[in-house]
């Protein structure tokens, strides 16, 4: 089973040279730490930043320079600032090559639910609905099961949806899965996790073709 850092590390392998990438809050934010330095990648933050760099050194925080998680950040050479309307304009017009976000539930058709649990305090969808409705390439980073051990990868989402038929891949602590026209395809399994275990913990049926390789981590 992967921990959160390892999920981020595995997702980082999906980032290609020349990609503009939007990272959601939580595990997705960690992905930036694992993108190889030889790749030219720029991170977009939907509050109006392109070319995000690492956190500032202590004492160098700037209240005017934050990311969508409201964290103080820095920018790299070539960065730019823009307004929220323009920012979501570039998201809707599919200029962002890869969007990585968390989810409470994902369905085999690629539906995603990640913003609302009926009966609980609802904080809002933020920019997630715009991102999932627009992006061509969406990877979900999530724990495969909830605290009760129940699958979060489902035939149908039970929670209110954030977007329909939009998720391309799921990277969980157990597996890498791809949403295909025929259903959810198991691509890789976490080190030490058997295909049987994954099938057992996945409510949605999985397409399993040939031998499913174990995820590889360089470092």
């Amino acid at each position: 089973m992967l921990n959160k850092e390892q999920i981020a590390q595995r997702i980082a392998k999906e980032v290609k040279d020349g990609y503009y990438v939007n990272l959601g809050i939580g595990i997705p934010t960690l992905v930036a730490n694992y993108v190889p330095e030889n790749l030219n990648v720029e991170f977009q933050s939907e509050n109006g930043v392109l070319g995000m760099g690492p956190f500032p050194f202590e004492g160098e925080e700037d209240a005017d320079i934050i990311n969508a998680g409201k964290q103080t950040i820095t920018t790299l050479p070539g960065a730019s600032f823009f307004d929220s309307a323009f920012s979501f304009g570039m998201i809707r017009s599919q200029k962002v090559d890869l969007t990585i976000l968390g989810a409470m539930e994902v369905s085999e058709k690629g539906d995603i639910a990640n913003w609302k649990i009926p009966g609980k305090m609802v904080k809002g969808m933020g920019g997630a609905m715009d991102l999932v409705a627009s992006a061509e390439n969406i990877i979900v980073a999530m724990m495969h099961t909830n605290k009760e051990g129940e699958s979060k990868v489902l035939r149908e989402c039970t929670l209110p949806l954030t977007g329909v038929q939009c998720v391309r891949k799921i990277v969980s602590n157990l597996a890498v899965m791809e949403v295909t026209p025929n259903g959810l395809k198991l691509l890789e399994r976490a080190p030490g996790v058997s295909v049987e275990k994954i099938v057992e913990l996945t409510e949605a049926p999985l397409l399993i073709e040939g031998t499913i390789p174990e995820m590889q981590f360089e470092s």
Partner: protein, 232 residues
């Protein structure tokens, strides 16, 4: 030059009345019009509808107006970070209309640009689409969204000049840009108010025509919500 200066935050908020709809710029606590919010919190205005991406924290930003029970309804994309907000919302005292962030921004921009309605894919297939016209364009489903109608837009910029021209700084631009000129009256508070001629006409983000009142904010706390750093 058409002079847009008013004396201070008290003068700037003149005419804001109970029951009105306000747009307020900012993302989290970044780029919020903190002086106008403080002035409103000291006023008797109540029953406000506030269009703002977020709702501040308990003791800063829109949290001040929530504490004074001055807000009837919030139109936002993400709230919370605020215990009093949660209490009022769960008790039914406060009405909340959650809107996807990009749609929220575009509904401001539409008002700013005199576009009454537009189609967006955001929210299709979700409860956000309920009761809205849905239509296919280029093989993809979209929903119809309308421009906001607000009485006042209150924005915060880094620099401004007497004619109301505005320049933002960093990610504090956010919703301040599409809200400027998106209401009947736009109030701009700035950190630095300068005479005309000092701002480069090429670098102005919002032309003064979009702004009816401008003043230099009395104090800027510019609170940081998530102070994240790395060691040297």
């Amino acid at each position: 030059m058409i002079d847009k200066r008013v004396a201070d935050s008290q003068a700037a908020i003149a005419g804001i009345e109970s029951g009105m709809t306000l747009m307020l710029g900012g993302f989290g606590l970044c780029g919020i019009p903190e002086n106008c919010i403080k002035a409103l919190s000291q006023s008797q205005v109540t029953d406000l509808t506030c269009i703002s991406n977020n709702a501040g924290v308990d003791d800063f930003g829109l949290g001040l107006l929530l504490k004074g029970r001055q807000i009837k309804k919030m139109i936002s994309s993400y709230v919370g970070e605020n215990a009093e907000f949660e209490r009022q919302m769960l008790s039914g005292e406060l009405e909340v209309e959650l809107t996807p962030q990009g749609t929220l921004a575009e509904k401001c921009r539409a008002a700013q640009a005199g576009i009454p309605a537009f189609y967006t894919p955001a929210g299709y297939g979700t409860e956000v689409a309920q009761g809205k016209e849905q239509r296919e364009f280029n093989g993809k489903m979209h929903i119809l969204e309308h421009a906001f109608q607000a009485d006042f837009a209150i924005v915060k910029a880094w620099k401004g000049d007497y004619a109301g021209n505005l320049i933002f700084r960093g990610s504090a631009r956010n919703f301040n840009h599409p809200m400027a000129g998106a209401a009947k009256i736009t109030i701009a508070e700035v950190e630095h108010l300068v005479p005309v001629g000092e701002l480069d006409p090429n670098a102005i983000h919002i032309p003064g025509i979009m702004v009816q009142r401008i003043f230099q904010g009395e104090v800027y706390e510019k609170r940081i919500e998530q102070r994240t750093t790395r060691k040297k």
